[in-house]
Symmetry: C2
Subunit: 318 residues, 2 copies
């Protein structure tokens, strides 16, 4: 079975671990969000790609969900001692090495997709990880800061400001001119199932869908497209998805997120059991819906979620 | 008193600590060797400048003589895990931060002299540290490796090969077209005393003197120029200076190094007490010479050495 997954960071990576456990023989291609990539200290940092790579490759900081296990922060401390920031971005020593290798390879002219493949040669994530695009796309958020509207990098909004200021728009800068990375459209065209994990529907899955050709390819693939709600009982399971949903005018409910993706894209939608009341509404909108436990509490729970998604996909297919 | 010191790495830095203790009120300008600078992982590394900066600023690894105290090597280990080297160069995590700041500032267009000043704003070495040149000079060594002659970067010769292969020439590539950094010629012209610490006479002091205009400015400054022999009893006190002396056809003796600098440049020369027999030979060559203990065993011993150098300078002046 060939499965394509559109993944953001932590939520996507954890779901993928469950999916691999649920279908060990599956051929999984992950299309990774690069909209939250950022340049720091002259280095190209790709938080979502790295979270997937580290999580599936056994290098992740388990409790935190991002960054490396057994991480130290000597470089960052020293940079701060020189007065060099930003201090709000937690770049660890082990993590630095990944960005150094990536930046050097990009500098040599390799596209990000080739660099990601080279980094994965070490981590062996057990999936094919492709960035959504080799072109630069950078998600900016239009915020209200000290009384004036200002566009800030997504990481600044998310990490420094903790999404605590009003957001008026989320713009994947550069997306309209970006091309899908080599292999993205091919993987979608050859997929048996396409899954949207419980990643952020705006700044993770939404950004991937903003790359011209990706949404169309998924809609036209003719295979089941099934998503899992990142919203449980009106709140995001983790992160601050409600804030960016509000910025794009979408209510923070499992049903509203399904409607945001739309029946033209989505064939099936899993909501949590606490949102069982939404099933009818989602189905009325033309999307098959099931209520199942959606908390990725551990690998077992996550594996069951992945199985439910694949089961729903088979229902849709039949 | 305005003192100018031409310094390499460890030997120069330790001598400077003694000089500061000997003359706390002196206005000291250090002209630092940049011939052993190297680019690693896209970063500009200046080992000699950093050794002086860390030593005088209290950040040095005392036993080792180079690199940072309390250093860790997570970045280097991770780079190795990606298959990225060289592994023979010991770049620590704390040290990395210095190179990141330097490389970013150089990338922004600041000359190395301005970058060094910015880095020193943190370390407060208590001297004015100026690179010999803002232009790139890179010392290469013509070695015999596996039967063929080959030019290697000085660091490769020194650190990887441990100076254990035959060296036929030492070439400061780029020196002939380099200009002294801003402040170098001015400091020499305004100096009351010019000192050559017991640094490597070929690849440290020699490289600084290879920048057009520096040797001439020192010779014409009209102030005492006093050096301290890095060779004691026929061997270098530390490092492998004998190997590079041989490469340029100079015997490894205190007298031969004095003659290598020459009476046109050097007014006074300190040799160790074990080399007291060389005093006559050096003086016959027109260089005033004294035999004093030259082992920089601790700060007290080093301070006494600096005092002896200044005393000899005053003798020369009188």
């Amino acid at each position: 079975m060939r499965i394509v997954v559109l993944a953001g960071g932590i939520g996507g990576a954890r779901f993928l671990r469950g999916l691999k456990a649920a279908e060990p023989a599956a051929d999984i291609t992950v299309i990774g969000n690069t909209g939250d990539d950022i340049h720091l200290f002259g280095l190209k940092v790709c938080p979502d790609l790295d979270t997937v790579m580290y999580t599936l490759g056994g290098g992740i900081h388990e409790e935190q969900g991002w960054g490396r296990a057994d991480e130290t922060f000597a470089v960052k401390e020293e940079l701060a001692a020189y007065g060099v920031g930003p201090e709000w971005f937690g770049l660890g020593d082990r993590d630095f090495a990944t960005h150094i290798v990536r930046t050097q390879m990009l500098g040599a002219g390799y596209p990000l997709s080739a660099v990601t493949e080279a980094l994965c040669a070490r981590w062996k994530p057990g999936v094919r990880l492709i960035p959504m695009s080799d072109d630069r796309v950078e998600t900016h958020v239009l915020v209200e800061l000290d009384g004036t509207r200002k566009a800030v990098h997504f990481q600044e909004y998310w990490v420094r400001l903790r999404a605590s200021v009003p957001a008026h728009a989320v713009v994947p800068v550069g997306a309209e001119g970006a091309k899908p990375a080599p292999g993205v459209l091919e993987a979608i065209a050859e997929a048996d199932v396409i899954l949207f994990p419980p990643s952020n529907p705006v700044v993770s899955v939404g950004t991937i869908l903003a790359v011209p050709g990706v949404r169309e390819a998924i809609a036209e693939a003719g295979v089941p497209v099934v998503g899992l709600s990142p919203i449980i009982g009106g709140s995001p399971v983790r992160g601050m998805a409600d804030k960016v949903l509000a910025a794009v005018g979408v209510e923070s409910t499992a049903a509203a997120v399904a409607a945001h993706y739309g029946s033209g894209l989505l064939d099936g939608w899993l909501v949590d059991t606490v949102d069982a009341g939404a099933v009818e509404e989602v189905e009325a909108a033309g999307i098959r819906c099931r209520a199942v436990p959606l908390l990725m509490a551990d690998l077992d729970a996550t594996t069951r979620m992945a199985r439910e998604a694949l089961t729903l996909a088979e229902e849709v297919r039949a």
